[in-house]
């Protein structure tokens, strides 16, 4: 069983224990001596640098790998299949060797190699299915058996990669691939288009329940990070599957021929209700449990529902909408902060003492979004320049 795992399964185990012990220490529940004893008993002997170094490792690994592949391609005189397969073999060997040799654990470099490897395999599959797969259409089209086989192959690759490397992005890609496969199958049925939103929503809900149950099992600790992200992804796809904008525009895209505007869909009232109701359901669920995944998905889907509304109905002119929404948001946030200051209903607005901030990016964010000085053009006194209102760009969403 442990041969399946690319990384040492003790690493996520020790990491989880150390993270929890550090949180307790920050809250003053563990003495420094106890913390260092726990750190010694569950050592982290893998390499994973802080976020910024991971980004650097990722970028330079991609640069090096692509340049290396280009060099190899030159040596092989740009034979497509030969270059691709040789690169994939070498890349896979390097990936395995650096993980076992340098003890990398989602450190940026191994992520980059894994993603490039999977992209290469995906390209190979599409090439084999669409260029070498005999007669027929050469463009991937929805609702065809050819696409079905291609998606089945990529899903198998992504699933195997997820099982072995437990990478969050790959896991999400595998999940979305599975949904796409399901959708493609449905589109081959009569009435498939009608059923598509509901089946995808139900499949997402089922996936959510399965991910949540897996998350509770200690034996699945290796996939803990994947499952946490997948729970959020499943909530997101459950919403998107029945979101009015997604359904209406998706339906228009599936209809044959050119349409000047997307036509109204059947059961529009139901989709209005779901688009408005699901964010509230997520937010209420997130506050009641309380569960951060539900809370964040509630915020994201609420923003998307506002977008959906404004896409079809111009309720208010954009500046008025931004002003009112901003005033409302500010008021709600200030009220909630003061109301929950002492902690009520199991909720508090005070910072969790154990929240470790990886980056103090706030000052940089402020420097970017806040226009802090009169621009030279406005100061020149030609006209009152409209671009000077403290981050007015966000009003486009609202």
């Amino acid at each position: 069983m442990s041969r399946l795992y690319a990384y040492n399964p003790a690493w996520p185990h020790h990491e989880a224990i150390q993270a929890q012990a550090t949180r307790w220490h920050k809250r003053g529940l563990l003495t420094p001596a106890q913390l260092s004893a726990a750190q010694a008993a569950f050592p982290l002997d893998f390499y994973r640098p802080p976020l910024l170094l991971r980004i650097g490792l990722f970028l330079f690994t991609v640069l090096g790998a692509l340049a290396g592949a280009g060099l190899l391609g030159m040596l092989l005189q740009f034979n497509f299949l030969g270059t691709l397969i040789t690169t994939l073999v070498i890349g896979g060997a390097v990936l395995e060797l650096v993980i076992s040799g340098k003890r990398l654990y989602h450190s940026g470099a191994d992520n980059a190699l894994l993603y490039l490897e999977l992209l290469g395999i995906g390209a190979l599959i599409l090439y084999l299915v669409y260029e070498q797969g005999g007669q027929g259409a050469h463009d991937p089209a929805l609702g065809t058996w050819r696409l079905h086989w291609a998606l089945l192959l990529t899903l198998a690759v992504l699933l195997l990669a997820t099982l072995r490397y437990a990478d969050r992005l790959v896991a999400t890609a595998a999940y979305l691939n599975a949904l796409l496969l399901l959708g493609n199958l449905l589109l081959m049925l009569p009435l498939g288009t009608m059923l598509l939103p509901f089946v995808l929503c139900a499949a997402s809900a089922g996936a959510y329940l399965w991910f949540t149950r897996q998350l509770r099992q200690p034996a699945r600790l290796y996939y803990h990070r994947c499952l946490q992200l997948l729970r959020g992804a499943a909530l997101g796809t459950a919403y998107l599957a029945v979101n009015y904008w997604a359904v209406r525009e998706g339906n228009a895209a599936l209809l044959p021929g050119y349409l000047p505007a997307s036509p109204q869909i059947p059961l529009a009232g139901l989709f209005y209700l779901l688009t408005a109701g699901i964010p509230l359901f997520y937010l209420a669920g997130g506050l009641r449990r309380p569960d951060r995944t539900w809370l964040w998905l509630g915020l994201l889907t609420a923003a998307f529902s506002v977008f959906t509304l404004r896409y079809y109905r111009s309720v208010l002119p954009a500046p008025w909408a931004a002003t009112l929404a901003g005033a409302l948001l500010t008021a709600v946030a200030v009220w909630a902060t003061r109301y929950l200051h002492r902690g009520r209903h199991g909720l508090t607005s005070a910072a969790d003492a154990a929240d470790d901030q990886q980056l103090n990016l706030e000052s940089l964010v402020v420097a970017q979004t806040a226009h802090s000085a009169p621009a030279a053009g406005a100061a020149a006194g030609v006209q009152f320049g409209g671009g000077h209102s403290g981050g007015g760009g966000a009003s486009a969403d609202y």
Binding site: A16, S107, A367
Partner: protein, 332 residues
């Protein structure tokens, strides 16, 4: 992993007395769920939307509202924000002041934003500063620096540095430098380099003498960004202007600043600065190699093949460097 199973593991290894485990268990069930970050996000979004929407609204209805009303409303709102922040003002200290909550911080930020809007409005409408643009841009810088030091606010400090850079003739918001600023003007880039050096020196001195030592990172990151961006841009300029530094000065300058960043990053464990130093040094070394090939034999076969091998090998080298950075940078 649930907290309970972590407790079991720690108990099994006798790393924790059972009484303390019971205490932790009780705390885990009693402790409220923190909405701190979510509320901060909502507040920030609200402030951005509100100030953006209001700005556009005022711009559209300027004929109907009347200038006096607008000025009075903005001034009133600004004073209210600053007053709220001042009511929660901690006593002054050169060290990092204890936080009294995030609402005063945001009130201060909103007040500063309103100050800029108000000043611009007054200048455009009434021409308060006339053609003394220097005064118009140095005033917010002075106000923001004073507020940042008194209220111990790094965000306002960043705004002050930005205003200072505007006064020197360049805006250093990290992204707009790529979008709007024209670094090809050699005099501007020279000024930016000097200002960047000054900011970096200020940051180092602040830390050295314990005068708001926690501001050092803001000074260093913004200053080094400005300097390296301007210096690299004028290094890669094909038609350097009269006032810009020659490459003989720029290359050692950039490399020295990169070395200083790496040195500082090692002390402060700041990986942002480390990455900045490595990335700019990589660009400059690549530039040197290309110029060297160009100088010796032009781009014939040998030079081309050299570059072909240089890119993957140097990328692998940087990856190796980053992987071993802990070992290389271990403090003595």
């Amino acid at each position: 992993m649930s907290p309970e199973s972590v407790l079991q593991e720690l108990l099994a290894r006798a790393l924790l007395p059972p009484a303390q485990a019971a205490l932790i268990r009780a705390d885990e069930t009693r402790r409220p769920f923190s909405l701190h970050r979510e509320l901060r996000l909502l507040l920030y979004l609200g402030i951005v939307l509100l100030s953006g929407g209001l700005g556009v609204l005022i711009y559209q209805h300027i004929d109907r509202i009347g200038h006096g009303v607008i000025v009075a409303a903005m001034a009133g709102l600004m004073l209210a924000c600053l007053g709220y922040a001042a009511r929660h003002l901690p006593p002054f200290t050169w060290a990092e002041a204890p936080r009294t909550g995030f609402l005063p911080d945001y009130a201060l930020l909103l007040g500063c934003l309103l100050f800029v809007t108000l000043e611009t409005y007054l200048q455009v409408q009434y021409g308060v500063f006339g053609s003394r643009y220097g005064l118009a841009t140095v005033l917010p810088a002075a106000v923001f620096f004073a507020l940042a030091y008194r209220f111990d606010h790094r965000g306002v400090l960043a705004m002050g540095i930005t205003a200072l850079a505007a006064w020197v003739g360049v805006t250093i918001q990290p992204l707009s430098a790529f979008v709007t600023n024209d670094f090809w003007h050699s005099r501007l880039s020279t000024a930016a380099i000097v200002l960047g050096l000054g900011l970096m020196a200020t940051g180092l001195l602040a830390e050295r003498y314990g005068r708001k030592a926690h501001f050092a990172f803001t000074y260093l990151s913004l200053g080094s960004n400005l300097l390296l961006l301007a210096a690299t841009a004028s290094l890669l300029d094909f038609t350097p202007g009269a006032g810009s530094f020659p490459p003989v000065v720029l290359v050692p300058l950039i490399l020295a600043v990169c070395a200083a960043l790496v040195w500082y990053a090692r002390r402060a464990h700041s990986y942002l600065l480390l990455l900045l130093g490595v990335a700019y040094a990589y660009v400059v070394v690549t530039y040197l190699l290309v110029r060297l090939i160009e100088f010796t034999n032009g781009f014939n076969d040998g030079g081309f093949v050299l570059l072909l091998f240089y890119v993957p090998l140097s990328a692998v080298g940087v990856v190796w460097l980053l992987l071993n950075i802990k070992k290389l940078l271990r403090p003595r």
